[in-house]
Amino acid sequence: MKADLFKTLQSQIMFLDGGAGSILQELGLPAGVLPETWNIDNRDAVVALNQGYLTAGSNIILTNTFGANCLKYGDEGTYSLEAVVNAAVSIAKEAVKRCEENSPLDERLAAFLKDSEPLRGTPACDRAHFVALDIGPTGKLLKPLGDLAFEDAVNVFKKTIEIGVKAGVDLIYIETMNDSHEAKAAVLAAKEVCDLPVFITTVYDGGGKLLTGANPETMVAILEGLRVDALGMNCSLGPAQMMGIVPRLAENSSTPVIVKPNAGLPRSENGKTVYDVGPDEFASLMRQIVEYGANIVGGCCGTTPAHIRALVNATQDMAQHLPEEKNISMISSYTHAVKFGRKPILIGERINPTGKKKFKEALRNHDIDYIINEGLKQEAAGVDALDVNVGLPEIDEPAMMDEVVRELQAVLDLPLQIDTTNAVAMEKALRIYNGKALINSVNGKAEVMAEVFPLVRKYGGVCVALTIDEDGIPTTAEGRIKIVEKIYENAAKYGIRKKDIIIDPLCMTVSSDDQAAVATLKALKYVHDVLGGNTILGVSNISFGLPSRDIVNGVFFTMAMQAGLSAAIMNPSAVEMRKAYTCFCTLSGYDPQCLGYIEYASNLPTMVASAPGSAPAVAAASAPQSSSPADEDPLIHAVRKGLKTQSEEAIRAKLNAGEDPMLIINDYLIKGLDIVGKGFEAKTVYLPQLLMSADAAKAAFAVIKDHLEKSGAAGAKKGKIVLATVKGDIHDIGKNIVKVLLENYSYDVIDLGKDVEPQLIVDTVIKDHIMLVGLSALMTTTVPAMEETIKLLREQAPWAKVCVGGAVLTQEYADMIGADRYSKDAMNTVEYAKEILG
């Protein structure tokens, strides 16, 4: 069947069916009854629905399985998932048979077509027909927004698809996806279960974005990476509103484009949802959509067999615009795509332990916050993508990579470059990544290509390829180009196109080989000019061993960009490289009206003069009140008023004056915080002010910590506390506030995050023999998880005291579940920590 489907797709515009739910309702489906139960209880109605669309002219009909998943249907009984899906497939096949045998159509469905023109051209019974297994969303949001784990989502989809494939569908049709991550889970499930063609459509809003933020280019990048057979959009909008989005899909996609709009926008009329675009208007708008490049068309909510009939008659003879192979290299996050080939792409290199003592320490201590902050800093510095390397011999790299990718994509929307030589870590990262990743890296070694290319083929991605093979790095450009050709050729065997390979011609240090830069640039230029490929460099390697490296890097970067460099892996705060990049973009016509350069230049003096960690807008807005009253210490004043920069300055002044760091902490910082804390209790200070003070104190602490580290003394911590939002709860704002305040008071907080398994909390407590645990819960329904956690703690870590808080908690509740303390707010938790840990 597969060959037939593709053959048909090559030769004609293909027609899907139209709305299902609204028609089943007209046939009597009561509100609140799951539509799939009718596959069993009212089989004839569903056969009629399917046959109605075939009669109208559809080539592909969707089984009545939109909501058929194991979260809604159990394993056993009349409405088991298997029974519901099997029935749906057999119904669709029966409808095809009835259509092809010219059996009469149910009169309720025939009524929809009574005012329609007859089907022109090939009679319905002689058209190509395919049964598509319809897969809708799970009805759950994926973590971290909701409670469904990515891998669980894959398994939910797999269960339905396994049944549908066994029952003999011709293709898998995934639809109405609001979330790119869930879309990826569904496609992976289909690919891991069967070899059938996979079509997928997602839902865009009027602004051209999925509910979770992806734009059309992003979806093309992700879905083509996963090798779907057709992609596009359905539901939510009418054809007029889709008009602006279709060209964005068609211009970027090398895969056939599907468009399945609603019959306009819904409005209520006498208690019914009605759609205002009738069959003829629908068909004439769809002509334009086909003109824009749609290859597979149909209708969604509000469309009927009459819409499909009009659509088929109006468009079946139009010239088909089959998608050409687009030579677009792109990576994406879950919101936007980044394209290679014009303006050079900057990839931040700071998430990497190599040569970074603090970063190594963060990896060993599992300090995810530190790693996230490295990402945020580089984002602020304007990089286009982030390299992620978390390899250290002594840590579990696959587990760490998996966690860091999840955390980074929960916070940042920059595309990631997965940088590892560990194939297990690479696969974990590519699987969980919500986007199309850059992959760093493959090279000319047969063994490495055999390991990496199957992953690129399965998950998608643009792969960095180093010009090194079993014989090492050739010193000449010619030698490296040979490796490039070998890599391209090998990639093609896996179906990986040249556009998804980005060549790193490698730069060796010029201090050990004075021809190094020449060879690199020559190879780079050849790849760009002759082979038409993309290139990438870790630019700063060139100057290794030389003094004032930044100067050499800047000039070499300019030369490389001039030779056609597509992307650079770099430290975005390197001054000379930024200078080179900004000027190059301006002089190469990538900087409209020189606005980028003007902005860069106007920030130049402060950039050079200012220390890292510049003042936020908040502090600036408060500047007029910054001078402290004569009778108040400037540090206490700055903390009290929540002035970050001033508190840093005040503490530096004290350190420079030789005051003892520990005394500064106790006499000024803690004192300032106590004043604010008491004010909060007395309701003269409010939560935002409390938090601004906490931030100011945190900034001051960072200065002291730096000072202590430089002087070799260890920062004094008062003891460790574990914090967690309990299992099943995703609200963590309260816990985060408690964390900031506890850190202010020098406690070492291990933050396990939200939705945390009870046993993980217990294990963490046992590992470091921790004396105090803080648990947070929002609702009565998550208090049982809190109770369970406390019970486990009592059994396995009886020494630990447990403090609980959260919206629903009361003293009474806390007593009932056996907590040691109920804290009504963050300050109260600090008080308790003082009692327990001193």
Binding site: Q25, A31, G32, G67, G136, P137, G139, K140, L141, P144, L145, G146, D147, T176, N178, D179, D205, L211, T212, G213, P266, S268, N270, G271, K272, T273, D369, I372, N373, L376, A410, V411, P616, A617, V618, A621, S622, G642, K683, Y686, L687, P688, Q689, L691, M692, D695, G728, D729, I730, H731, D732, I733, N736, I737, V740, L778, M779, T781, T782, A785
Partner: protein
């Protein structure tokens, strides 16, 4: 004609059309009868602007006929049966309810999650702005229903949500089975009855004939939104 048979009606609003009561944001931040100082209030304005940029207010509603046994406080809500003294009072005299689910979408959660990594002050403000925006949107949607039913001579009761008073939070499971919030507005229910996206509301609104007496609150029922705000 009154839309007593409405099922799964989709409603969407432009966030900039919502009436946002800033004193509500202040209240969520703990400012009772006081205004925040200039620094904080300008920060709040900025955060409100950011959040309006990412909010997608959407709702879905269905109308159900109901029956109430005032003695036993048993209610047949049309989509589920439950027992609640407080809801009985709220709905006394009503012939129907509007059941609705509303959300301002997942991008607000992403904004809050991201900010909580870097700036707790702003994270807390975004949180309060989000809570205010979803309530503003519920007001907006409720006004729409009030107009719709008002024309036919009906009055609407203040909305009442699972978890208020003695109304079980577990009613959420029935609500999500009854209306297709996941498909239409992307609102889902977690196993723990917490909604995701987090800035979301489900509620029941009593529909009473125009001549029915107003709802008759119990003295211990001050959780209902309207009363809480009157405080």
């Amino acid at each position: 004609m009154i839309a007593f048979n409405a099922q799964n009606m989709h409603h969407i609003a432009d966030p900039y059309e919502l009436k946002v009561d800033k004193s509500e944001i202040y209240r969520y931040l703990g400012y009772y009868r006081v205004k925040p100082d200039e620094t904080i209030s300008s920060l709040i304005d900025k955060c409100l602007e950011d959040e309006l940029n990412v909010a997608i207010p959407q709702g879905i509603y269905s109308i159900f006929p109901i029956s109430i046994d005032e003695k036993s406080c048993e209610l047949d809500l049309g989509f589920a049966k439950t027992t609640s003294r407080h809801l009985c009072k709220n709905l006394s005299g009503c012939s129907h309810i509007a059941l609705f689910a509303a959300t301002i979408g997942p991008r607000v959660d992403v904004l809050i999650q991201r900010t909580s990594r870097v700036d707790q002050t702003k994270a807390v403000i975004y949180q309060s702005v989000g809570a205010t925006l979803i309530e503003s949107y519920c007001d907006y949607l409720n006004d729409y229903l009030r107009r719709e039913f008002g024309e036919g001579g009906y009055k609407l009761r203040p909305r009442y949500s699972p978890g208020y008073g003695d109304l079980s939070i577990l009613l959420q499971k029935d609500i999500f089975k009854s209306i297709r919030a996941d498909k239409t507005i992307g609102l889902t229910l977690m196993d723990t009855c917490i909604m995701a996206p987090s800035k979301s509301v489900t509620a029941i609104i009593g529909i009473a004939p125009g001549d029915a007496p107003d709802c008759n609150y119990l003295p211990d029922c001050n959780i209902c939104d309207v009363c809480a705000r009157k405080e």
